[in-house]
């Protein structure tokens, strides 16, 4: 039987996203400059860098320019500089332009980007710098020595659906590192464990998330202006659901259409995938897209809670960066630059820690000070109460945001801090049965979930234990069915959860192979009994330019 591999490193980043990759590049540079040697590696559960990266996205080039001061903007793998921007309020049939684009929503001097392309580019530089990126390896457990994090254990590979070892079984590897930096992205699974064990959310607002679902549409040649950026509010979400749509012009005649839906809606019947299809029914969207072909689909959650939802960032032996820590500016719809900057600050702390040989929380808390005195804090402080205003609906949220603009971020113009509760707690016990009865999927323009999942190019080794752990499935067929109408069937954008007939009743069927790793279920389940853990390394979507 194969033995468990043990690898000793100095620094391990978990998750090959923009935070970790920027952090690794910056760390290597700092080490070179100070004449230190260190083994730095990045762990990535996808089969290749970028395969699990999904975002809108519009990138503020600030962090990239800091990381690569000798580069010009033309050297970065952007799609296009934002050339025109529009902001609309939509009704079911009309689009009403905002009279002006409020400055914080302006994307002037920013760049339309595919996150997948950006991470692949960063990954290439990382490898040239001598950083090992281990793709196809999922971090499943933190290794401890007492309360000190000393590494990460990766998942076993080659376990069949009954939990038995297959011929090619390989036990997970133990990677020891002096500093483990968790950049797992939204709702990281190791992050969740770290936060729970070390109670890192004390005195903070619970994190609140949204889910973004998107489709890429390939259009006839020459019909898409790269850099054309549009955001909308109103239809189809209305005033009671946080969120809005985005439409970005990419290279290669591609329209990038997406919808962000706050995961703190009250109505359990809401289905973000279906809302995206409803959006496409709008005559303006139809006029833009119907001549094209949908080529890709994906979904990912995003942390919206803001400054007060950011956990304590350092423990003995570990740091939190990027979306795992919640560094996202919900008002500007940008988080990639903050993620990268956080990675770079973590690198600075780590470089110092390596030179002193001290990896305790006290030493690593230097990272928190750096964040406090950086432009991350400057930016996020001004929008620290942004999401919370939307507890009062769209108009309340906009009013709160407006007042925040004038007062440097005060809630309702005067409160330093607005409190909020976790999104899943907002779900009410109502069951709306026919929310989408008028939605007709034709398979060529409006797609049912199963068809869209096919275009997410996601695949999992079928013969493995499902990676979605439900602590008590009885709840699904009894309490949840009655109280909420099994919202998992709706809030999962990938058709993973199904209630299927079973004798006289129903049972929960988990089509884990469809999972796109968005983490919505872990976030939104009203009973919080779904625990998302990484499936076998290498499984999941194989997104190219999402």
């Amino acid at each position: 039987m194969a033995e468990r591999e043990v690898l000793d490193l100095d620094v391990l980043f978990v998750g090959a996203g923009p935070a970790s990759l920027a952090g690794a590049i910056h760390l290597k540079r700092l080490l070179r400059e100070s004449g230190q040697e260190a083994n730095v590696a990045v762990l990535e559960k996808a089969s290749e860098v970028g395969a699990h990266s999904l975002s809108g996205a519009i990138v503020d080039p600030r962090a990239l320019r800091e990381l690569f001061p000798n580069y010009n903007d033309a050297d970065f793998p952007f799609e296009a500089e934002v050339t025109e921007e529009h902001l609309y309020y939509l009704t079911a049939t009309k689009k009403i332009p905002f009279p002006f684009v409020p400055p914080p929503m302006s994307h002037h001097n920013c760049f339309v980007t595919s996150l997948g392309k950006l991470t692949r580019w960063l990954g290439g530089i990382c490898e040239e710098d001598g950083v090992d990126i281990f793709c196809g390896f999922a971090g499943t457990e933190l290794l401890y020595d007492g309360d000190q994090v000393i590494g990460v254990r990766t998942g076993d590979r080659g376990i069949d659906k009954n939990g038995e070892k297959k011929t090619q079984f390989e036990p997970g590897a133990d990677i020891h590192a002096k500093v483990v930096i968790l950049g797992e992205g939204t709702r990281g699974s190791l992050t969740k464990k770290l936060i729970n064990r070390h109670e890192l959310m004390q005195e903070r607002n619970p994190q609140v998330w949204a889910v973004g679902v998107k489709e890429l549409w390939r259009m006839p040649v020459g019909t898409v202006p790269p850099g054309c950026v549009t955001h909308t509010m109103g239809f189809p979400l209305g005033h009671d659901i946080f969120g809005g749509a985005f439409l970005y012009g990419m290279q290669n005649d591609i329209w990038d259409l997406g919808l962000v839906v706050g995961l703190d809606y009250k109505n359990p019947a809401v289905d973000s995938h279906h809302e995206l299809q409803r959006l496409k029914n709008h005559p303006w969207i139809r006029s833009l897209l119907s001549a094209g072909q949908m080529i890709a689909y994906g979904a990912k959650s995003l942390p919206e809670g803001g400054w007060y939802s950011i956990p304590r960032l350092a423990v003995d032996g570990a740091l939190l960066i990027g979306d795992s820590a919640g560094f996202m500016n919900g008002q500007r719809l940008k988080g990639i630059h903050l993620a990268m900057k956080s990675g770079m600050l973590a690198a600075e702390t780590t470089a110092e820690a390596l030179s002193t040989g001290n990896f305790t929380a006290t030493q690593l808390a230097d990272y928190e000070s750096r964040v406090e005195s950086s432009w991350i804090r400057d930016e996020l402080w001004k929008v620290r109460n942004f999401h919370q205003g939307f507890d009062r609906g769209l108009l309340g949220g906009l009013a709160n945001a407006g007042m925040g603009l004038l007062t440097g971020g005060r809630g309702w113009g005067f409160k330093n801090r607005l409190f909020s509760e976790a999104g899943h707690k907002k779900m009410k016990k109502i069951v709306e049965k026919n929310r989408y009865k008028d939605l007709q999927f034709d398979g060529t323009y409006l797609f049912d979930k199963v068809t869209d999942v096919y275009y997410s190019a996601t695949a999992h080794e079928e013969n493995q234990v499902p990676h979605l752990h439900i602590n008590d499935q009885n709840v699904c067929t009894t309490k949840c069915a009655e109280e909420y109408g099994n919202p998992c069937v709706k809030f999962c954008p990938a058709d993973v959860y199904e209630m299927v007939p079973d004798g006289d009743g129903q049972r929960l069927q988990i089509n884990f192979s469809n999972c796109v790793h968005c983490k919505t279920c872990d976030i939104m389940d009203p009973y919080q009994i779904i625990d998302w853990v990484p499936p076998e390394g290498g499984d999941g979507p194989v997104w190219v330019n999402l």
């Binding site: 591999e5 089969s47 290749e48 196809g136 390394g537 190219v544």
Partner: protein, 256 residues
């Protein structure tokens, strides 16, 4: 036992593609790429044979653009010793004879006892390259290989025949074998494998430099298959679909 494994990188099996605007190839920009499925089995077979023999090299040879370095590195991470990358940017110069000639020129002085290739590639599926290569280098050849047994100076292989029949044959070495998927269980790369792969040699050559022959065939663009049949697509609710199917089975196909 020195073994050469021919590896090709092809579009990902879960991907679906469209023909490029000029009709000459597929639209590659949004596609994921991976090692051809049967090549992965060929690689595993080579690694297992080498492990049994205890000595010898496993060398990867791959022809394709820069992106195929990813498939090469994966093979090195799994245990291959070194690689030769024949760079060829145009994705659709794919005459098997020209390719096999280039490969033959590349490896003719290496003294390989075995050349293993995947049965056919998932893109164009010619399935000829390994056999032509064997012929050009004076090797014995076999295709649809589902089992191997190394003997002294020879190799015994199990070939798949149609309809559940099989046949063993003993062949002189050197031999070129086209490996069928499913004959073994490919291993996972380990962390150490990935780390050491970076230090392994990937020699780069250019196709134009080593291909001494002209193409014998090429192809004239790609198009979506036209349906020759009139397919009746049945749509509607599940109940409506079932009703129509029953009608067809009963009255049109007459299954009785």
């Amino acid at each position: 036992m020195n073994i050469c494994v021919l590896v090709k990188q092809v579009p990902g099996s879960e991907a679906h593609f469209s023909v490029s605007a000029d009709g000459l190839w597929i639209q590659e920009t949004e596609l994921p790429f991976e090692m051809n499925e049967s090549d992965n089995y060929a690689l595993e077979e080579a690694l297992q044979i080498r492990e049994q023999k205890g000595t010898g090299e496993v060398v990867i040879v791959s022809l394709g653009p820069d992106r195929c370095q990813k498939a090469i590195r994966e093979a090195l991470a799994k245990g291959a010793d070194r690689a030769i990358h024949i760079k060829e940017d145009a994705p659709y110069n794919t005459d098997p004879y020209a390719i096999a000639s280039a490969l033959a020129n590349t490896i003719k002085d290496e003294g390989f006892n075995l050349v293993l290739s995947g049965l056919q590639s998932d893109d164009l599926g010619f399935g000829q390259t390994g056999v032509i290569l064997g012929e050009l280098l004076g090797m014995t050849t076999a295709t649809l290989v589902v089992g191997t047994e190394v003997l002294d100076g020879k190799i015994r292989v199990k070939r798949e025949l149609e309809a559940g029949w099989f046949q063993w044959q003993t062949m002189d070495l050197p031999a070129s074998l086209a490996i069928q998927s499913g004959l073994n269980t490919p291993r996972y790369p380990t962390l150490k494998g990935i780390m050491t792969a970076k230090k392994k040699e990937i020699k780069e050559l250019s196709f134009a430099d080593i291909c001494a022959v002209d193409e014998l065939q090429s192809f004239n663009g790609l198009s979506v298959q036209h349906a020759e049949k009139q397919t009746e697509m049945i749509a509607g609710t599940v109940d409506q679909i079932v009703a129509r199917l029953v009608d067809i089975l009963k009255n049109e196909i007459r299954i009785n």
